[in-house]
């Protein structure tokens, strides 16, 4: 299995993604420079966190003009698995590969802390190996992580099983106090209608090793790897 990790100027979780895919998940992973217009025969693509182009316009807004995004779009159109994390999620939203958009945290402050996220649907190549008896403990670190979407988009997301993760408290309740950024309906991550492109604000790549104090991020990568090996079939929702 081969994973491409996109590298934009200002990406800063790119090496972390390569590290986890290689050294924790044991799969081949390499960086793909943003000026490259091909991904080079890969099974999955990770768009990592960071501040692409400094996030000086709108988070993720400039990255979509990078040549590599053309290749990502093509890969996604053919059903390839693409996961955006944090800034990667913002980029995929800006590129129109995922519905909705991200605005500044309601607190107006950057927030870095562990959060609890509950998987909302197992009908996804990014979640189907996820235990459902408890939420995953995975940290966030962002300034613009408040997910917003039009009411009709939200209806569509629900109808097509596209809301994958929500912030919850330690009893699994989806309450406002558990929401680190003010996202609508506590949404932490979504996927496209076809299910092969997903994004989330929390950083699963920071929660894969006991030495870092959190390991639940592996659930997402284990699902991804199992899906690449052909272990997943998406049921059409609704």
């Amino acid at each position: 299995m081969k994973v491409a990790v996109l590298q934009f100027p200002g990406s800063n979780c790119d090496q972390d993604c390569v590290h986890v895919m290689k050294n924790v998940m044991g799969v081949d992973a390499h960086l793909v420079w943003h000026k490259s217009s091909e991904l080079g025969g890969v099974d999955a693509v990770l768009a990592p966190g960071g501040f692409s182009y400094g996030d000086y316009l709108r988070s993720g807004a400039i990255a979509l003009f990078s040549p590599v995004m053309g290749a990502v779009r093509e890969f996604a159109d053919q059903g390839g698995l693409v996961l955006g994390i944090c800034n990667g999620f913002q980029i995929l939203c800006e590129a129109g590969l995922l519905p909705g958009a991200m605005v500044r945290n309601r607190s107006m402050e950057f927030v870095c802390a562990p959060t609890l996220i509950q998987t909302q649907s197992l009908n996804s190549p990014f979640t189907f190996k996820t235990p459902t008896d408890r939420p995953a403990r995975i940290p966030v670190a962002h300034m613009d992580g408040c997910y917003v979407a039009e009411p009709h988009t939200l209806d569509e997301l629900k109808k097509h099983d596209q809301i994958l993760w929500k912030y919850v408290d330690n009893s699994g309740q989806c309450v406002p106090s558990a929401n680190p950024n003010g996202s609508v309906e506590n949404i932490a991550g979504v996927c496209n209608r076809e299910g092969n492109v997903a994004g989330l604000m929390p950083h699963p790549e920071r929660a894969c090793e006991p030495v870092l104090g959190m390991t639940d991020g592996k659930w997402i990568f284990e699902s991804l790897c199992a899906a690449v090996k052909g272990g997943f079939q998406r049921r059409s929702a609704a």
Binding site: P9, G10, F51, V111, L116, A141
Partner: protein
């Protein structure tokens, strides 16, 4: 010439911060009067910030060598220390106090940016940041504005650059009003053979300028930082504050590390303080060569910039690279890849002079070595401050009565200096790079170094960086500490205590000291009483660093931290880095398991301390508004035994908890360990505790205030399972560390911050002579956790 050369009048000399004697020395060096541009060059190079002219004789007392020191203090931009297996770390701390007083956000961002550049200039990949901050009281809106601006600035730069801000300290005291301290630390890793040098080697080699264009921002900032702050200077000097761009720095760092992996670089130096001036003359001085540059080749973003402005600009994220002849194309290829500006601006020469031309005409011609290394040195007068007579005379008989012990602990828990700093560290990305093994809120941070922490070793054929073969994982601990109040009340011992506390914090996670970088923040050195503080505390620091075998590998001096209202407390911040053999048994700062035995390691009291540890204590300061009395004295031999004992206990996996018992005293340390576990964004964990302090009270002459809040040094609170107690006893006895069993951990409760008000939960009970004290932990946690954010919310 296109630009007029203003006449050098005594007023012009004075506004450049130079004395008449210094000016005469310049004339002597040049054999003629300097022109205006040259005067500007001397002014910044001979500022305290660049030259250490007031402190150099004192700094010579620092121990700077050990078999592990690969690059020592003063040699390069940062010291480098061997961590085994061919790997090394570069680290340094630097202040940005004056700029942060004037423009908190940009002052702090550029402080972080500057120190990160110092680290990658050494060829190291920057891996983590820390900071030490001081502000005036949060009751004042101006102080809140500066505090929030500084924290946001540090967050902005570090988060965007992608470096975890892994630890720090923040304190508040009226003496820092108008004089905030912003000390930024950075650590990076590299292989021994990757150490880069800031020397302009190789006559004829081309000199490259890389990074964004030069503007008028930060003109002569180094000189500005070497003056007292007044309202007028703050207003006038806003232009001396630089503007930071972390995105540019990230690109510049990656490009420089890629370039260093080639054969192209003969020397590299960042353009920090004094910009192009400092980097050119220092690189030439180090190599014993000369350097010649042409200013019209420098990329500019301001129109009609004069040679003076170009040379003294402190525009950020710029680097000077001396390139081995014939490798020019590699520089161009790599910097073009990262879309960064570059320009060839000059050559290394054999003249020994720093020559600057504008349109081919010489505008500066100064001997480089003399300019860089032979700034005037001043042996200032020191006089023991009068206030010390009064504070040394303070006796216990004069001490205020402890009337309400419940309120006293509450008041400590909710004082911003002692309360949880979550409002601060949650704004910093402290987990990026997957190396944060112990996060902020602990006694010391622990960082993992792994293969991808290192700079690339070479470039692959397709130009992509190759980090080479796997290296063994390493774990480093780090902390930054200083109790300014202690140093104010007893400069020599306060200096020792700052180092001892740093070493103790490292020992709490099982680490051994490797080295120290210090940030010496003081008032105006022309004042003999303030110079006494400087001189004596440096003597204490030097002695303690030598004792702990923690050489000083570099640092920064920041003087003139005073305004018309007065000077700051002397605040020599000690950043200490240590190594761990294993990360497996690192105890937590918080209590973990019900039933664990709580033990106080170390002598409960210094029997020679007439104030029983209450002098200069947080309790006197917070509860009785008293900053007086001789602070508890450090005791290096006891400290060392304590630290060795801790490391031994930790290596055997005996301890579940270890927490430094210092500011706030024993009860505060225990209370913090009851409360300090972060579970997730909204949830914390509390652990009930039953203490029996009757024996400790007996040792403290029966005084409850000294028992609970005395700050006797060389003590640590630990917890361990009952069935390991005997092992602990044997080890502590063998290693000569006294211990007292003082209590037991009770039930633990995980609870959301929002629900603390309605939570009935664990308590902290303390049995003392004739009475039983009890605190509701939910109440304490609510105060401790929310104090700073509540105050900052009021501010908006």
């Amino acid at each position: 010439m296109k630009f007029p050369d203003p006449e050098i009048t005594p007023e012009v000399i004075a506004t450049h911060g130079l004395t008449e004697e210094e000016f005469n020395r310049i004339v002597e060096i040049l054999g003629r009067r300097p022109n205006y541009t040259e005067l500007g060059v001397f002014s910044v190079m001979w500022s305290e910030h660049c030259s250490y002219k007031n402190t150099r004789p004192l700094l010579k007392g620092f121990p700077t060598k050990s078999p592990k020191v690969l690059v020592g203090a003063g040699e390069e931009n940062a010291g480098v220390i061997d961590i085994g297996d061919g790997l090394a770390v570069a680290f340094k701390i630097e202040s940005h106090n004056h700029p942060s007083a004037v423009e908190p956000f940009q002052g702090a961002t550029t402080g972080v940016g500057g120190i990160i550049r110092d680290i990658f200039t050494m060829g190291a990949r920057p891996l983590c940041a820390m900071n030490s901050l001081r502000f005036g009281s949060l009751e004042n809106s101006e102080n809140r504005r500066i505090f929030s601006g500084v924290v946001a600035g540090i967050a902005h730069y570090g988060n965007c650059f992608g470096i975890p801000t892994l630890a720090g300290e923040v304190d508040f005291d009226p003496c820092y009003e108008g004089n905030p301290l912003v000390n930024a630390f950075c650590l990076g890793a590299l292989r021994h053979e990757q150490i880069a040098r800031g020397a302009a080697k190789g006559i004829g080699n081309p000199v490259f300028y890389v990074g964004p264009a030069t503007g008028r921002d930060g003109l002569a900032g180094a000189a500005f930082a070497s003056q007292d702050l007044t309202d007028e200077s703050a207003e006038m000097q806003r232009g001396a504050v630089q503007v930071g761009d972390p995105f540019m720095e990230k690109l510049c760092m990656e490009a420089c590390l890629e370039l260093l992996a080639t054969e192209a670089v003969a020397g590299i130096q960042d353009m920090g303080a004094a910009g192009l001036t400092c980097s050119t003359c220092e690189t030439a001085a180090r190599a014993g060569t000369g350097i010649e540059i042409e200013l019209t080749k420098v990329p500019l973003r301001g129109a009609n910039m004069s040679p003076y402005e170009i040379l003294l600009s402190e525009s950020q994220e710029r680097m000077l690279i001396i390139v081995n002849q014939g490798h020019e194309e590699e520089v161009k290829r790599i910097f073009d890849k990262w879309d960064l500006p570059w320009a060839e601006i000059g050559r290394v020469t054999d003249t020994g002079s720093m020559v600057v031309k504008y349109e081919g005409e010489t505008v500066v011609n100064i001997p480089a070595k003399i300019l860089a290394d032979e700034a005037p040195i001043y042996h200032r007068e020191a006089k023991r401050p009068e206030y010390l007579e009064k504070s040394d005379a303070m006796t216990l008989a004069q001490a205020p009565e402890l009337t309400d012990v419940h309120a006293a602990l509450g008041s400590l828990m909710s004082s911003p200096g002692l309360a949880s700093k979550n409002w601060v560290y949650r704004q910093y990305d402290h987990m990026v790079r997957d190396g944060s093994a112990v996060c902020p809120g602990a006694d010391a941070a622990v960082l993992r170094i792994k293969t991808d922490s290192l700079p690339p070793l070479k470039l692959n054929e397709d130009g992509s960086p190759d980090i080479g073969t796997e290296v063994p994982e390493k774990y480093l601990a780090m902390t930054v500490d200083c109790n300014g109040g202690y140093v104010y009340l007893d400069p020599y011992n306060g200096g020792i205590s700052a180092v001892a506390e740093a070493a103790r914090n490292l020992a709490c996670v099982g680490a051994r000291p490797l080295g120290v970088t210090d940030n010496l923040n003081y008032g105006n050195p022309h004042n003999p009483e303030l110079f006494y503080q400087l001189k004596e505390s440096i003597r204490g620091i030097a002695e303690a660093c030598a004792f702990f075998e923690a050489p000083v590998t570099g640092g920064n001096v920041s003087l003139y931290n005073q305004n018309p209202k007065g000077a700051i407390d002397p605040t020599p911040t000690i950043a200490m880095v240590g190594e761990l053999d294993s990360v497996e048994n690192v105890p937590k700062a918080s209590f973990q398991n019900q039933g664990d035995v709580i033990v106080l390691l170390g002598d409960p009291l210094d029997s020679e301390d007439a104030l029983l540890g209450l002098g200069g204590s947080a309790y006197w300061k917070q509860v009785h508004q008293l900053k007086t009395g001789r602070p508890p004295r450090p005791h290096l031999v006891r400290e060392k035994k304590l630290h060795d004992t801790l490391r031994e206990l930790i290596s055997k996996g005996i301890l579940t908890t270890a927490h430094d018992c210092s500011e706030g005293g024993l009860l505060f340390a225990v209370a913090e360990s009851c409360l300090s576990e972060d579970v997730d964004f909204v949830t914390g964990r509390m652990a009930g505790v039953e203490l029996d302090l009757r024996e400790i009270q007996k040792i403290c002459n029966g005084r409850l205030d000294a028992t609970l809040f005395g700050e006797t040094q060389a003590r640590v609170v630990v917890a361990l399972p009952e069935d390991r107690f005997q092992e602990m006893e044997i080890i502590a006895e063998r290693m000569g560390t006294p211990f007292h069993r003082i209590g037991q951990v009770g039930e633990t409760l995980v609870v959301e911050h929002e629900k603390l008000a309605e939570t009935e939960g664990p308590t902290l009970t303390v049995q003392v002579d004739e009475t039983n004290l009890e605190w509701d932990l939910a109440r304490l946690r609510s105060d401790w956790w929310g104090t700073i954010s509540d105050k900052m919310r009021l501010a908006t």
